[in-house]
């Protein structure tokens, strides 16, 4: 080796040629993205972790068919999303599925909550487990299609176009779901903080 880091394409061709160990390095930068993707569907850390392991092994086995038309991470995330959705379908009952489907993307009669306590929470406050758990729980309570968009866009930091491409929906739909998701989370967080008061729970 000449000390230059390998490009993604070089790594992949060497892995396919037999240097299996390089696969570890190839997936390393994608770990958070694949975990969050699986989590966005399954909302269970344990299930997400299992799905990621399966998806990564699947990607390894299919690596020879990867054509480099997208980034490797995009391809791996897509495989993970499909695996997670399959697991979800297997695990939940028909009635739950139809309930999810019934929730449309219409505006509904939506009124956001006034939430002055949340206006200026500094990011340093995230060192507190309590705050992280409250945020995670709010996302867990979102319907799946809103959570998928919110995690792709706001947690993973993908843009609208990338999110639309990953989830197989239009950019307009991404924006609509994102609007619903953000305001639903904002509203969900309201009662908690209005009753307890963020500033009153320091310590």
């Amino acid at each position: 080796m000449d000390g230059q880091p390998l490009t993604e394409a070089e790594m992949i061709s060497r892995i396919v040629a037999g240097e299996r160990e390089l696969f570890h390095a190839l997936i390393k930068p994608c770990e958070r993205a694949v975990f969050l993707t699986a989590y966005s569907v399954l909302k269970s850390e344990a299930d997400a972790e299992e799905v990621v392991q399966e998806a990564v092994l699947k990607a390894y086995k299919a690596l020879g068919s990867f054509r480099g038309e997208s980034k490797f991470s995009t391809w791996l995330v897509k495989i993970t999303l499909n695996e997670a959705r399959m697991r979800l379908r297997r695990s939940r009952s028909e009635s739950e599925v139809s309930l999810q489907e019934l929730m449309d993307d219409g505006d509904g009669d939506y009124t956001p909550a006034v939430l002055t306590d949340w206006r200026e929470i500094p990011s340093e406050a995230l060192d507190r487990k309590e705050l992280r758990e409250i945020l995670q729980q709010a996302l867990d309570e979102l319907p799946e299609k809103y959570r998928e968009v919110l995690i792709s866009r706001d947690v993973r930091g993908m843009n609208i176009q990338e999110t639309a491409h990953l989830l197989g929906i239009s950019e307009g739909m991404v924006k609509t779901r994102l609007f619903r998701a953000r305001l639903l989370v904002q509203k969900m967080l309201a009662p908690d903080f209005l009753t307890r008061g963020w500033k009153g729970t320091k310590g």
Binding site: V16, Y60, R119, V155, R182
Partner: protein, 84 residues
Amino acid sequence: MILNCKHVWREISNYIDGDLDPSVRASMEKHLAHCRHCAAILDSTRNIVYLIADERTFALPSGFSERLHARLESELEKSEPAGR
């Protein structure tokens, strides 16, 4: 263009993303300047978006990476070369 509160709520997400026509943006800002209710909703939504974007909010479970690579290691040993 005069926007009422409901119009403003609909556009808050696009406003946060900077994805609005300048004329709509200007109308929103005009509304926000005198409507404390909508200004509070905008600020809290923006603050929440900022907090969930922080890596600490959704960190990988402890030991996630180690377990993934250990599983991979054991599977790679017994597997055929990739993609064959």
